[in-house]
């Protein structure tokens, strides 16, 4: 913890130093950014935009994880479905996020459905590919045991399949959260009237680096908080049975 704090202080120091060298217009000092964060927070704009972005992150993340997990499970357990969907998955994995976003706005319109759908579609193949590996690695001997003891399907899914999938779901969640929020900012910059991405777009047009950082940093902080206080504790809880864990 002490090391983390020291590391953070060092980062602030480097930033302050960089500001002195590059000049406040290119890189404002930490305190200047803090002042703008304060004024945006007092006006309420910061929270409104953070909430809008967070809502989009939550919706597209849930959609991508839900559909991606279901698709990955099906592909991992059924050869025919895997053969059928694999080429689609490869295409989606290699399609640039920007192409999907622009196409979604053109085809569906500049609305929330297009924005959230485009972000989800960017993340979905990643989740499906990760979960597919998990489904392929299922321990058949445990499934046999569950069938011999006539465990109901719900019990088998909850207590036999999902725990085996947990490390893969955790990996997909980790990479998913970081990927989704970055894409949400692009989606907002290109076609939404609010959110952190929209504010960053305005700041870019005005060449206002202070405002840009004043919106980007609180959101990074928010995502770090979610990662530290929500994702990591859940991950620790589901893997508490592992004997090697300290």
């Amino acid at each position: 913890m002490l090391f983390r704090l020291a590391s953070l202080l060092l980062l602030l120091l480097v930033w302050e130093l960089g500001s002195k060298i590059a000049g406040a217009r290119l890189l404002p000092a930490p305190f200047e950014v803090l002042v703008v964060i304060g004024s945006e927070a007092r006006s309420g704009a910061l929270f409104i935009n953070l909430a809008a972005t967070l809502g989009r992150v939550a919706a597209s993340f849930a959609l991508a994880m839900g559909l991606g997990t279901a698709l990955g499970m099906l592909m991992g357990r059924n050869k025919t479905i895997d053969n059928l969907c694999d080429p689609w998955l490869i295409v989606l994995l290699n399609l640039p996020a920007l192409v999907i976003i622009v196409l979604a706005y053109i085809w569906v319109g500049l609305n929330e459905v297009a924005a959230i759908g485009a972000v989800a579609l960017n993340k979905l193949p990643n989740t499906a590919a990760t979960v597919r590996e998990g489904a392929r690695a299922f321990d058949a001997s445990l499934d046999e045991m569950a069938r011999v003891f006539a465990m109901p399907l719900r019990t088998r899914i909850r207590h036999v399949f999902l725990p085996q999938l947990a490390p893969y779901l955790a990996a997909a969640t980790r990479s998913g959260l970081s990927l989704v929020w970055k894409i949400v900012l692009v989606v907002e910059l290109l076609g939404r009237p609010n959110g952190v991405g929209f504010e960053i777009g305005i700041a870019f047009q005005l060449f206002d680096v202070t405002r840009l950082l004043a919106y980007a940093l609180p959101f990074v902080g928010l995502m770090l908080t979610i990662e530290t206080f929500v994702v990591q504790p859940i991950e620790r809880h589901v893997s508490r049975w592992r004997p090697h864990q300290v």
């Binding site: 011999v148 006539a150 465990m151 019990t155």
Partner: protein, 242 residues
């Protein structure tokens, strides 16, 4: 004297069972294996490695349905099985492993845990247990559901001799008190004699029944001398059949 009743509860008739080898060829592993199990009977399937004993158990357990023949089992029956490996859910505690398998209630769970010396380990995860303890949990799980048919697939394999002996004694005590119809697969003649009311001997692959013997002495009254007598008679019968 066998404690089994006269009522036939399970009938097994396998005409043939083939398996695909790693090279892709089809190999017959069981041929014309037919026998029945009476209610409460403990029957041992004895045979050399690779003769299809485990395959037969998998067929009876319903894991393997690709065979020629028929199984006549009661329409609503509960099967408890002890596999060669414990096959416990590593992310659930010992108690949860017993509950999820269908332990009838908390009292019977506590009883079976106590009978197998697991009282202090109920909250432990399987990864925290030794192999011997994990096998005890696997045995407890099979008994905890109060099975109509108990299948044991070499439950003491890869345990050291002393531990295997201790577990075998605990299993005998359980079988005596709980009266479950039991089919145990083993390649150990002494184990079969110590546990079973009846022994069915399978030949090398393709497995077929070559000898059958009923142990007339009750399990708990089986002295080493009497067991030795049974063993020599059984070996003579196998030799004659060969």
């Amino acid at each position: 004297m066998s404690p089994a009743g006269d009522r036939i509860k399970f009938e097994i008739a396998i005409a043939s069972k083939t398996l695909r080898t790693a090279a892709g060829a089809m190999r017959v592993v069981l041929r014309d294996v037919a026998f029945s199990l009476k209610e409460g009977e403990v029957c041992a399937l004895l045979g050399p490695s690779g003769c299809g004993k485990t395959t037969l158990l998998r067929i009876i357990a319903g894991i393997d349905r690709d065979f020629e023949g028929r199984l006549a089992l009661p329409s609503r029956h509960k099967i408890g099985m002890v596999f060669q490996e414990p096959r416990l859910l590593p992310w659930r505690s010992v108690a949860d492993n017993l509950r999820l398998a269908g332990a009838s209630n908390e009292t019977s769970l506590a009883e079976i845990a106590s009978a197998l010396g697991l009282d202090l380990h109920l909250d432990h995860f399987p990864g925290e247990l030794s192999l011997g303890l994990a096998r005890r949990v696997a045995i407890a799980r099979a008994f905890a559901i109060k099975p109509d048919l108990l299948l044991l697939d070499e439950p003491f394999v890869s345990l050291d001799a002393a531990l295997a002996m201790r577990l075998r004694e605990e299993l005998i005590a359980l079988v005596e008190t709980r009266k479950a119809t039991t089919l145990i697969v083993t390649h150990d003649v002494d184990e079969a004699i110590a546990l079973a009311d009846r022994i069915i001997v399978l030949s090398a692959a393709p497995g077929r029944i070559v000898a059958e013997a009923t142990i007339e002495t009750a399990r708990l009254a089986l002295t080493p001398e009497r067991a030795a007598g049974v063993k020599s008679a059984l070996l003579a019968r196998i030799a004659a059949a060969a």
